[in-house]
Symmetry: C2
Subunit: 294 residues, 2 copies
């Protein structure tokens, strides 16, 4: 058997009171119980800690030497428990957040400062990557939470939808549709659509829209960012689909680009949070969601 914290507590108590009886009272146990524990401790250590006569209890030199160490262990244990309890306050410490590239630049500039203000104790460490890599890191415990489009195949995870992000059509100023206020999906049938690189979930979602609308991808071209797509459209190369979320950042006020919303039901993606189903921080993520979509 091994020594126990309880034994150290009793040791410290008797050292303090120099009385088994008083120490037992202070520890809310009976005196024989405390005596037994100390006897055991002394047996385990191979050292007598106290010198008992019926009338007096004295610390032996060994006891004197060991007492400060015992006290240290006990206070370290208290600190351990205190720290643990303080960790129960939600959204403190570190949050490793994975975000996809078609969301990060448009959502985070607004939300991160708000997050910092509401939960100043929370340290957010960002990682921007494609959905499948984020999922991998999530499952390996390298990330705590993802901010992605929920349309992708995410596997067995917990999700929480935050917001619906509709697609819009971006066409060059001189495009045949440029005068329209809105479009339906069938309006872009036959169009050459510029899309993102492989791996971007936005590519897959836009591709799905193309399929249902009868548009087709411009062969041989893959943009690595929405910004590139916008540049291409402005250059008159073709049209593209953009998430409305990105417009404020990516599309300048006056430009050679015209933005056309879809008529309802508009195609859209869903931005949401993703975490391991086994994560103990689910409730924290709920709180965080409340802040992200007020």
């Amino acid at each position: 058997m091994n020594i126990s914290l309880r034994q150290l507590e009793y040791f410290a108590a008797v050292a303090e009171w120099l009385s088994f009886r008083d120490a037992a009272d202070a520890c809310f146990v009976t005196q024989p119980g405390l005596s037994a524990q100390l006897k055991d401790l002394e047996r385990l250590l191979g050292v007598q800690l106290f010198e008992r006569s019926q009338r007096t209890v004295l610390l032996t030199p060994a006891g004197e030497t060991l007492l400060p160490l015992a006290r240290n262990i006990l206070t370290a244990t208290d600190e351990f428990v205190d720290l643990a309890r303080s960790l129960t306050q939600p959204l403190t410490g570190t949050l490793r957040l994975g975000v996809i590239p078609t969301v990060a630049p448009y959502l985070l500039p607004k939300t991160l400062p708000a997050l910092r203000q509401r939960y100043p104790q929370l340290q957010v460490r960002l990682h921007e990557d494609l959905t499948h890599r984020l999922l991998e890191m999530l499952s390996h415990g390298k990330l705590d939470l993802l901010l992605v489009a929920l349309e992708a195949d995410l596997g067995n995870v917990s999700t929480l939808a935050l917001t619906t992000d509709p697609f819009v059509v971006a066409v060059p100023a001189r495009h045949r549709l440029a005068k329209r206020k809105r479009v339906t999906e069938s309006d872009i049938a036959g169009e050459q659509v510029l899309l993102l690189d492989d791996g971007h979930c936005l590519r897959d979602q836009a591709l799905a829209v193309c399929h249902t609308s009868g548009a087709s991808e411009i062969g041989d071209f893959r943009a690595s960012s929405l910004n590139t797509l916008v540049q291409m459209v402005a250059g008159g190369i073709g049209i593209t689909l953009l998430p409305r979320l990105s417009l404020e950042v990516e599309v300048p006020q006056i430009s050679q680009i015209v933005i056309l919303p879809f008529r309802k039901p508009e195609p859209s993606r869903t931005i949401g949070l993703v975490w391991r189903t086994t994560s103990p921080r689910a409730h924290e993520f709920q709180l965080l969601a409340e802040l992200l979509v007020p």
Copy 2:
């Protein structure tokens, strides 16, 4: 209930192996036992330490934060036990030794250096005082061991006789007995004997010799040390009784003093060790005695 060292051990083990099964093996318990303990620990802390899925075990951020503290507690505990075990080596640390004034100057100059050489780890702290004060300090735990004459009334203590210290008679060079080689107790009948102050056990022992031999104390005179007595004898004021132990130091080779041993059975005092019956160091004192009387 409170957290236990066992729980911290299991915590550290699972954190190391990232597997409940392997950790359980490493701790020589079954997996359910370990699981139960960790569940309890998490309940007590109010914090989940591990994130379990059937396939993987991950440290939560809280677990990550708490792990180093837990490890610290465990190593501190190991050190505590190690130190305790090392204290079982006898005659290390501090020994608070009380010695009477009629022994200290004559015995210690020889024995202390020997002690220091044999037990270099032992620190001796000396206190020189009268027997009854030494006994008081002993019973109060302010001293560990006494070196006194065992003839005194010592109360309920453990004793170990070291050596017999015979009395001798010291007479002025011109005294009627000065030509004798030896004396018997009756030889000093009627003599005026110089004695120590009240409280010195040697005074009581010498007085006892006087009573049986028919000598009497010189009224109104009390010496505070053997040296004073010797000076008085040298001055021809009277005779005295000295412990043979003191001769080498107190009586110069050539002097106005003649030392006369008693014929057997010579009166004597017994020098010995005294400790509380309850002291756990009794065996150490035995060892020490072996060194004092080779």
